[in-house]
């Protein structure tokens, strides 16, 4: 009896290597994706398997590369706003805001309080929408279909709100440089408020379905752990970084849009594993709801675009056809673009997936000389070739789901 070894069920890799050394095994190459349900887009993983243990993993990107940076160099600052929708296409409102803030930083432009408040609501609604998808499909990846149904119902309500605000459900293009496209519709804040009321019970339901769910925990606790040092070295940001126990939230550390005025907490994880990454997202939704309530509770009056941004922001539409000056100005804006000062700026915003950065080099004029987009998913995925080896093939699904990436901003 003493020479009997114990193995956990499913630990095929170790069984084949230790218990049956005579068994002739050979490594197997497995190709996952680019079109595969677990890759949530067009990520391709080339893996080497020993039994069902992953020994090597090489991610292959670029299947969604559209050359956004090249396109940006060939159009005016205003024209690029719709392209930012297609970066993290699960949170287009937040991308619009991040891009506008980067250009405004270059132009040294301050937007009025009301505009900031609208943008904060946009960003947080986008965060809720993105995290609901993240948690929902993550549950689905781990074998819990129901969560997905609940969170998608809530996302549908969000899309109705987005549609009312921007006119589009997915590709919103709502912010303009120096403001937002239009003021909030009548009664919209009330509807956002009632949405917020409805979110908390749904979150509780999700919590009851996942947080202490034995199957979910078995599949996620201790799986895909990332150490603090590794996370920082790989430049991981967002909930994935905070799950490792690092307190980095640009809304707190480098406040923009007046985030310092709002009282919210940044959830921090302990183990940096798949389970912690789920907890981060669930808690961040609650914090976002709290921020939105604070904004609505003290919603400022005033303009929804910066007065001094008229050179950049299109003049009021009603005046374009009645006033000579505005007509000329509009013509100049359309043909030459907003005239920007020379300089270099880098701005990062805390987006749902992590820090979305824009680096703009301007030589003056209406077109950026160089625009680099730092997609958080790109950095978050770079750890895969180190994270996946040592895990079982079945863990791939859970690890990919927990990283909550989106290929739109990874490949750009």
């Amino acid at each position: 009896m003493s020479d009997l070894k114990e193995f956990s069920v499913g630990d095929i890799g170790s069984r084949s290597s230790e218990c049956e050394p005579a068994l002739k095994t050979e490594k197997m190459a497995l190709n996952v994706g680019p079109s595969h349900p677990t890759t949530h887009g067009v990520l391709r993983l080339m893996m080497q398997l020993d039994g069902d243990l992953i020994t090597e993993c090489e991610p292959v990107l670029g299947y969604l590369h559209r050359g956004d940076e090249k396109i940006a160099e060939n159009m005016t600052y205003n024209q690029f706003v719709p392209y930012t929708d297609r970066l993290d296409y699960l949170a287009p409102l937040a991308n619009n805001v991040a891009y506008a803030l980067a250009v405004e930083k270059l132009a040294k432009l301050e937007v009025p309080e009301r505009c900031q408040a609208i943008r904060v609501i946009c960003c947080e609604l986008a965060r809720i929408s993105s995290h609901f998808l993240g948690v929902g499909v993550y549950g689905m990846d781990a074998g819990s279909w129901t969560v997905f149904m609940y969170t998608f119902t809530e996302r549908e309500k969000l899309y109705t709100l987005f549609e009312e605000l921007t006119g589009a459900r997915f590709t919103t293009s709502y912010t303009r440089i120096g403001g937002v496209a239009r003021d909030i519709p009548d009664g919209w804040l009330g509807r956002v408020n009632s949405f917020c009321k409805g979110v908390i019970p749904v979150l509780d339901q999700v919590d009851r379905m996942l947080t202490r769910n034995r199957i979910f925990m078995d599949r996620t606790v201790g799986i895909g752990s990332i150490s603090k040092e590794k996370a920082i070295s790989y430049g991981i940001t967002g909930p994935n970084l905070r799950a490792c126990g690092i307190d980095l939230d640009l809304r707190k550390d480098k406040p923009y849009l007046g985030y310092e005025k709002y009282d919210f907490e940044v959830p921090i994880g302990v183990n940096g594993d798949c389970y912690d990454r789920y907890l981060m997202r669930a808690e961040e939704i609650k914090q976002s709801v709290s921020i939105i309530r604070q904004v609505i509770g003290n919603f400022p009056e005033g303009l929804y675009y910066a007065e001094e941004a008229k050179k950049i922001f299109a003049p009021p539409k009603a005046k374009i056809l009645t006033s000579m000056e505005e007509l000329i100005q509009n013509f100049m804006l359309v043909t030459e673009g907003p005239q920007m000062p020379k300089g270099e700026v880098y701005f990062e915003a805390e987006n749902p997936k992590g820090a979305l950065g824009f680096y703009i080099v301007s030589k003056g004029g209406g077109v950026p000389y160089r625009l680099k987009i730092r997609g958080p998913s790109f950095c978050n995925l770079s750890i895969l070739s180190e994270l996946l080896p040592g895990h079982h093939l079945t863990d791939t699904t859970v690890i990919l789901g927990s990283l909550d990436f989106v290929m739109g901003e990874c490949d750009r």
Partner: protein
């Protein structure tokens, strides 16, 4: 980084020079000293996160390529931009920071892929966004927005179908004008003149 720290940085490292910047503190660092400087940045000045690596193509100017690094300090909440010119305009290269920051791996591969800058000492410098055999570096200023006709990445498919990766048709393209100068002087026009308003499209 406070004023005091920044002055100290330039004072301490004679090879640095201050770089114009609208926002964060920025320095120019010669590529020979880049690794040493970044090592000290990481270990002594606690810039522990490399958030972004990219490059700028200055087109006709020399040095033509500048590598841009953005660092963030998670303990001091500070950004720092480090720029480093590539000495050679024809075969630009920079030292690789992969040994210091794991994040540099993919960022440098991307910069190599799109800008054609070679990172010396990178363990796996190959294309990341474009396919492996792609012959050009698309973010260079001399690369046209519409792209250049290239062979299909899959040779067997290309042999059967005789299809190539075609350049985008530019008819009515809204954004063909160059980034330099006023747009009114570089009126957006169609590059492809094979058919237009006065000439019918061939079959």
């Amino acid at each position: 980084m406070s004023e005091k720290d920044t002055n100290q940085l330039i004072g301490r490292f004679k090879y640095l020079s201050e770089r114009d910047s609208v926002d964060h503190y920025a320095v120019n660092c010669p590529s020979d000293h880049l690794i040493d400087f970044c090592q000290i940045l990481r270990d002594e000045y606690l810039f522990d996160m490399l958030v972004d690596v990219t490059a700028i193509d200055w087109d006709v100017a020399s040095p033509r390529f500048t590598g841009i690094y953005h660092f963030y300090s998670t303990s001091k909440q500070l950004y720092l931009r480090v720029a480093s010119d590539c000495k050679d305009n024809i075969k630009p290269s920079l030292p690789s920071l992969v040994r210091l920051y794991s994040a540099a791996d993919w960022h440098e591969r991307e910069t190599y892929d799109l800008m054609g800058i070679h990172f010396d000492g990178h363990p796996n410098l190959k294309r990341i966004l474009m396919w492996d055999d792609y012959p050009y570096h698309p973010l260079r200023k001399d690369f046209p927005l519409a792209g250049i006709e290239t062979p299909l990445p899959a040779a067997d498919v290309a042999e059967q179908t005789k299809v190539k990766v075609a350049a985008a048709p530019m008819m009515g393209g809204p954004f063909v004008s160059s980034g330099d100068g006023k747009m009114s002087q570089t009126e957006p026009t169609a590059k492809d003149e094979s058919w237009n308003e006065s000439k019918a499209k061939g079959s």
